[in-house]
Symmetry: C2
Subunit: 393 residues, 2 copies
Amino acid sequence: MTFPKLAFSIAEYDTRLAKTRAAMDAAGVDTLVITDPANMAWLTGYDGWSFYVHQAVIIGPSGAPLWWGRAMDALGAKRTVYMGADDVFGYEDSFVQNPDKHPMEDLSELIQAKNWAGSRIGLEMDNYYFTAAAYLSLVQELPDAKWVNANGLVNWQRTVKSETEIIYMRRAARIVEKMHATIVERAVPGLKKNELVAEIYHAAISGADGHWGDYPSIVPLAPSGADATAPHLTWDDSELKTGEATFFEIAGAHRRYHAPQSRTLFLGAPPKKYREAENAVLEAVAAGMEQAKPGNFAEDIAHAFNTTLNRLGFEKDNRCGYSIGLSYPPDWGERTYSLRRDDKTVLEPGMTFHFMPALWLDDGGIEMTEPVLITRTGAENLCNTPTGLSVKA
Amino acid sequence: MTFPKLAFSIAEYDTRLAKTRAAMDAAGVDTLVITDPANMAWLTGYDGWSFYVHQAVIIGPSGAPLWWGRAMDALGAKRTVYMGADDVFGYEDSFVQNPDKHPMEDLSELIQAKNWAGSRIGLEMDNYYFTAAAYLSLVQELPDAKWVNANGLVNWQRTVKSETEIIYMRRAARIVEKMHATIVERAVPGLKKNELVAEIYHAAISGADGHWGDYPSIVPLAPSGADATAPHLTWDDSELKTGEATFFEIAGAHRRYHAPQSRTLFLGAPPKKYREAENAVLEAVAAGMEQAKPGNFAEDIAHAFNTTLNRLGFEKDNRCGYSIGLSYPPDWGERTYSLRRDDKTVLEPGMTFHFMPALWLDDGGIEMTEPVLITRTGAENLCNTPTGLSVKA
């Protein structure tokens, strides 16, 4: 069997291309150079750990998307994209990590060969992997182009998920439920953090409900105690301790679609202030979820959540959520709308976001988060993971 | 116990800073803005999964390095860097993924406050995470600066490993040995690829020899059969098959130091052409390793390897190795020297590289690679993993 059979139908890829071309027209872009691996995957089906070298998908004024990258990865492209081999282009290895010539010189030649060199060319200017040097190389090699900042253009086409995308996210949701159940089952005082993370990874990749687990775009984040005031520390071999909280920010993933979810585990009886924080967060989440419905703004969820927290004596001014779906390292957010004041993105059925009520107390943190789907009438938690603090006496 | 106790002594960080400042002088750089998370870690001890937002370490003309990043990650910086809190700066969350203002505006203010705004400022122009938009923001906000491309400047200071670094790499080597032993033990026809990868991850993070496993910078790459012609495909739930080869490109990691190593597993008797390829590679590797000694050039290893392969009837023109050490996603290479024609980097004791003899045949691939340490008199394989093809009848 060819690996991997396409995750979506050709008709769905055609729809995505049409949406993207409409957005390009509206943005005054003739030719779009896409370097975000999630956008590349969404538009073509390309999947591979090759984003550590320069690569791109190019949408020209007409025709199929083109895949361009390192020659050895062009082989991977031919095995994964829906287009034919004529739409796949590979550059020589001598371009790789060579200070004297940049792969973007090769892409520039391709753009010239297609007669797009004088067009309005869109670039994902603030995207991971689109470096300053890549930008300067293109600008130098294509002096007749008119450059347009197209950062986020494709990302925004991805906010409303198709039926198949939602199916994949539900599979990912089953996986993260299993990961959290594994944590609750295995965590005991004295267990080393890395040993627990090894169990989490095993659950993550084994999958759940008959569906295999993909690698999550962020490794399990599992800080304990005072380290939990710093949200992005990874692990070592410190032992879990009675009387300490550990929060787990993890995701199930299937075919690159992510269901992130956090829970906070307490070994022993949580102090009163953790229970107060828990109650406050649960009440604030409920208030936020009441605003999670088609037609409301993203900021309405944040407003209800934050004002409820404030009323209960807690302060929070970070965003409390962001769009999720398909992703590649280093992040599982889609980088479109956020649940935050002033974000007037209109919520629509099929949108999926990570509702992230995190509270950092002065000596620790609690995170109890949910992947959420906007439905026709309101919103639905994708997971059935028990809510609130996880407590093991 | 504070997480994590520093991986290196203060004296070692001081030495690294001195080496870097000497390199800055030679390159005509007064102020260096470092955005590569591995370079940030090497210079300060900073460790965290925060490279999905803009962050940097700044080396000014004098004084300690400064850490700059998102405010919530500044908390992580204070817990991980060797400098004091006065050298750690965090920007407001409103800068994060906001199309209307860029975090580099905040960094520019810091550089101005330090009176470095008119200096010769070095930037890692082709580094992952240093985006086109970040560059343009700095250039706009600091019009008096003289910009210098300092890509690779810090990377090159990392090529010769200290004793402690070599200790960490040996621990990583024990871990990847265990990962390969796990593969040979668990792989059977009918086993799903993701289930095998789950076992590999469990071994990777559990660690070996009493030392915990860190996350590798690249996920396990394990393509089978014809998919192995495309080297960077990840997994799904396809079953392992008799008569098929699977190559595993994996790494053990400890404290971010990596020992990458590949092996090719055959279920059943390998066809004659695989055995011929195996023999050729082993002979070519031996020829390459004879050239792996202080005073030789990196290209000498590649030359011996490639000419031997050619003599035996196989063609290979990719590079056959690269420097390794400390790394973060998306890559475990250090991006300095390569084992490739025209690379005249002089080999020195303490250098560590991934010797990557990979051969892609028309219907599959074999990879049998080694992490290698240059010693005072020659070279040493860091791992004891059995050489050659792995075969399970």
